[in-house]
């Protein structure tokens, strides 16, 4: 009983911690034209907090102290805005209950089966153990696959350490929380066009197609999913001429995309691809393009410097060398690998059927001329598929084994970027029925 009660309490702790600095009552001043919804604000706050956690992870700081401070500030914020919060909850009670219930039901899955799955147990948990046992960043060198980024494990350790039962899975609750918030945030743009029940049905559909119990066993994919989603939302808002000049969105883009680098290895390439899209499509003047490019390069250099300083080198699972590349350059190898990649992409679409819905949405929106001023989505899709294809073409591992163990997860993370296409499709369907905006 105590585990279930504390799991329920943990949801409120998350909401309390992530209800600042931006909330539905003060964000209007910050973002001027676009009024963020409740779940949008939580997601943005999570990103801000993740950047704070990232900074703290390099120092040996008592995790209880940080948590205590966070909780106090959260409580103060809550009491300051309590009237507004209660008003909001009263007006949106049905969706809010659905939000709490969804998180709770996913928490229950983790509590019921607390055993970690492959990558979670083999390397992410080692890193979490270091931070949980008051270790330091430099001790990461002592664990397997230490060249993997550490932020996901740090957050895991942080919430593991700060619960009454000191049970490991409380740390993984954070992944569920960010994932569910992402799904609820995605429907904010159609909230006015659909009834609460319809919104919940759409959410349930998205959840059914994206929840994977295996990934809740310590994988970092839900973090990547959430970051991709937020990047897509920033791009969507920036593609609207009214929001184009809002500098906070730029800042939000840098802080969000920067997190890619610290969560997973492939995040390095996701960061580069997102930044290229950002500079090309959302910075119109040459001067602004140059400034953005400089910021992007500065953040990348900063990341590389820290990695090299602590780990003495910067490496991926496989070394990038021309020798390895030339070994893979036979036409026969390329063709056979290419067919395997295609096969496993199709298999992954069935493993994560959200992709089937994304493909339908792509066709549907294409017919609606949606991409006329949103070409960046197509470019983003092409870049990412090129990246995924090149990983497997380049790799010297057994391609069938490598594809079967990793491709579906790569595609799952990437699907976060395209969730909004599904939502936009619903948006267009309602518009077709002459629904007043």
């Amino acid at each position: 009983m105590i585990e279930l009660s504390l799991a329920l309490l943990q949801i409120f702790i998350f909401i309390l911690i992530f209800n600042y600095p931006i909330n539905i009552h003060n964000n209007f001043k910050l973002f001027k034209l676009y009024k963020l919804g409740f779940y949008d604000s939580i997601l943005i706050n999570i990103i801000i907090h993740l950047n704070v956690y990232l900074c703290l992870s390099f120092f040996k700081i008592n995790l209880h102290v940080i948590f205590g401070l966070q909780l106090i500030i959260g409580l103060l914020y809550f009491f300051y805005y309590q009237k507004e919060y209660f008003k909001f909850i009263k007006e949106n009670i049905l969706i809010f209950i659905f939000f709490l219930s969804t998180i709770f039901s996913l928490f229950v899955i983790i509590i019921w089966d607390p055993i970690l799955t492959w990558d979670g147990i083999s390397h992410w948990f080692f890193k979490a153990q270091i931070f949980y046992q008051n270790g330091e960043y430099k001790q990461l060198k002592e664990v397997p696959l230490n060249h993997y980024p550490h932020l996901g494990s740090y957050i895991w350790a942080y919430f593991w350490k700060n619960n009454f039962l000191q049970l490991e899975y409380f740390g993984r609750f954070f992944y569920v929380f960010i994932f569910v918030t992402t799904i609820f945030s995605s429907v904010e743009i159609i909230k006015k066009k659909f009834s609460d029940f319809e919104i919940c049905l759409i959410i349930l559909l998205l959840l059914t197609l994206t929840v994977d119990k295996f990934l809740l066993g310590g994988y970092q994919e839900y973090l990547i999913f959430a970051i991709f989603y937020l990047i897509s939302k920033i791009f969507l808002l920036l593609s609207n001429k009214d929001n184009y000049q809002i500098k906070y969105f730029y800042l939000l883009f840098y802080t969000t995309s920067f997190l890619f680098l610290w969560i997973k290895q492939e995040g390095f390439f996701y960061y580069i691809i997102s930044s290229i899209i950002f500079v090309i499509f959302f910075q119109k003047e040459l001067k602004k393009k140059l400034i953005s490019l400089l910021i992007v390069l500065f953040l990348l250099t900063f990341y590389l410097s820290i990695r090299i300083y602590f780990h003495e080198s910067f490496q991926f699972n496989e070394q990038i060398s021309s020798e390895n590349l030339f070994n893979q350059l036979s036409l026969e190898i390329i063709i056979s690998k290419f067919f395997f990649i295609l096969k496993y992409i199709l298999i992954s679409f069935f493993k994560y059927p959200i992709w089937i819905l994304i493909i339908f949405s792509l066709f549907f929106l294409y017919r609606q001329n949606y991409f006329r001023n949103k070409k960046y989505i197509i470019v983003f899709l092409i870049f990412n598929f090129l990246f995924i294809t090149s990983i497997y073409l380049y790799s010297s591992y057994d391609v069938v084994w490598f594809l079967s163990t990793s491709l579906s997860r790569l595609l799952f993370g990437l699907s976060g970027f395209f969730i909004l296409l599904i939502i936009e499709s619903f948006n267009y369907m309602r518009r077709d029925k002459n629904f007043k905006d």
């Binding site: 659905f98 509590i111 607390p114 055993i115 153990q129 046992q133 001790q139 664990v143």
Partner: protein
């Protein structure tokens, strides 16, 4: 009318919640959680000497109280449970080795002949020490 609509929505949402809990097996899992505590669930799902071999490694850790991090090798299609028992203040142990799901054949071929002494054994799980 508005109130009626709200009640209607509330009823529909309640049905949706029951459906959500049903597909996520929330009721069934909650029942199990209330029946079994954390350790029991870990033992059931992590296995004693099968699957991850959680029970066997836990038993050894309690019995022997290792001073170093003992490597755990799982020969079944499961990852090593070593990270659960990882202590950052201990070194890696080069003498002891915990083997999970190892077949008799593999064991005699790779360990018996290579100067390993059996310290503890349960079914196909072993704690061995290099002589």
């Amino acid at each position: 009318m508005l109130k009626y609509k709200k009640i209607n929505q509330f009823f529909l949402l309640s049905s949706l919640l029951v459906f959500l809990f049903f597909i996520n097996k929330t009721f069934l899992y909650s029942y199990t959680i209330l029946q079994d505590n954390y350790e029991t669930r870990m033992m059931k799902l992590g296995g004693y000497c099968e699957k991850y071999g959680y029970g066997f490694v836990e038993y050894l850790n309690k019995k022997i109280k290792f001073k170093k991090n003992v490597p755990v090798l799982n020969f079944g299609n499961y990852p090593s449970i070593e990270s659960y028992f990882f202590d950052i203040n201990r070194e890696k142990d080069n003498h002891y080795l915990i083997l999970i799901n190892i077949s008799e054949n593999d064991f005699s071929k790779n360990y018996v002949k290579k100067d390993f002494q059996i310290i503890d054994k349960k079914e196909n799980c072993y704690l061995v020490k290099k002589i």
